[in-house]
């Protein structure tokens, strides 16, 4: 059973079996506007919480997306290379950014659940 977490940087993580799928929230994609390019991470790259994992580029600006927890990249959403607008149209689904193997599951305790995130952006 997957559990979904949220960060104050407007990312979501769906965690199942020690692997987190990470993306940005609908609120975040709306703030960024139409995305035209996503710079995806290399598989196997080790990231510490707060490191830049992905850069998303809108017509106007480039924005960093940070690793919400420590871990190692296991997969990147290659579909975004040809269709970055998936992040706009399906931020919490087909527009996911990367998957990472968690280094320390106890870090998840510091994240928000959906109700807390909704209160955060309200």
């Amino acid at each position: 059973m997957a559990t979904t977490y949220f960060t104050t940087d407007h990312e979501w993580l769906r965690v199942e079996g020690g692997i987190a799928t990470v993306g940005i929230t609908d609120y975040a994609q709306e703030q960024l506007g139409d995305l035209v390019f996503v710079e995806l991470p290399e598989i196997g790259k080790k990231l510490a919480k707060g490191d830049t994992a992905v850069v998303v580029e809108s017509v106007k600006a480039a924005s960093d997306v940070y690793a919400p927890v420590d871990g190692e990249i296991t997969e990147a959403n290659g579909t975004l290379s040809s269709d970055p607008s998936l992040v706009n149209s399906a931020a919490t689904g087909a527009g996911w950014l990367w998957k990472m193997k968690l280094a320390d599951e106890s870090q998840l305790a510091g994240l928000m659940d959906e109700a807390a995130y909704k209160a955060h952006i309200a």
């Binding site: 506007g33 139409d34 035209v36 390019f37 710079e39 850069v55 580029e57 809108s58 017509v59 106007k60 600006a61 480039a62 290379s81 970055p84």
Partner: protein, 366 residues
Amino acid sequence: MTGDDSKHLPLEDIHTAAGARFGAFAGWSMPLTYPAGVMKEHLHTREHAGLFDISHMKLFEVSGPQAVALLNRACPLDAGALDISQSKLSFFLNEAGGILDDLIVTRLGDTRFMVVANAGNAVADEKHLRALAADFDVKVEPLDRVFLAIQGPEAWAALSRAGIETGSLLFMHGVEPRKNWFMSRSGYTGEDGFEIGLPEADARDLVAKLLADERVLWIGLAARDSLRLEAGLCLHGQDITPETDPAAAALMWAIPREIRASGAFIGADALRDAVERGPAQKRVGLKPEGRQPVRAGAALFDANGNPAGHVTSGGFGPSAGHPVAMGYVATALAKPGTRVFADVRGTKIPVDISSLPFTPHRYRKG
């Protein structure tokens, strides 16, 4: 999002009601995007008609017996050679030939001109012009107007339906169709279009009529920027600055030949020297390979890794369908087709020097 000291547009309530997202630009709180989003707003302008609130820009009326003499001193311009209603791109230069601002000067009468200045430079421009005006029999009057731009192939038809006929007005000409109105066929998108300065009450009436037309959509500053970049037009403060002269900026076409040779405008000597020497760097269009945008500030390198210049504006061109940018490169590399490399977060992106504009201009010149 914006500081308390930001200036607010007179029509801000209309933008708020239209769902605008605001951001700070040149000291103003400006609509950046509307709910349609930058991509749709950009494409809508090229296909139909986009309405822009550009009231952050400033209109100055320059009038009096020595209006021509003042403008010939302030700008590399032959103001007396302009026909009535003719507009011309010009500049305020500093003594070193650097561009203090780019302006549109329109002749309204024998001794009366309209000068349109950029938002970020409006205060400095007024001070500069007033200081110069002290030596001439001339009046400089900043006008309190709402300033709207309507741009795109259907702009003229939308204005016509709103009761404003534009028929005989050609590109880079301006008239005063009503009391305290100034309307020119011009803009900053590369499309046919108009810029209209008018009193607030009239503006509210015109905006209501225009927005009732399904061909017209509000367009924010984000799309204004991508439209002008595709059209190869300079943004002062980025692509042209007090450190760049018209020769390096590839804008010498805006200066009449005889003025280049013998004009007594501020910066004339320095500009003549710069032309004589030839600019060390030149402004060029840049087309990055692939999909990744290359943005302002990125350093450029030649094939051997030597510094070659820098990017001054960059982003994605929704109509071009690829990233677009502008910047300065060493003159030897300025030929279209030359390949350079942009450093983007440590990766070298291949970038080809490209002729400008990226999307063809569609001005109505006659």
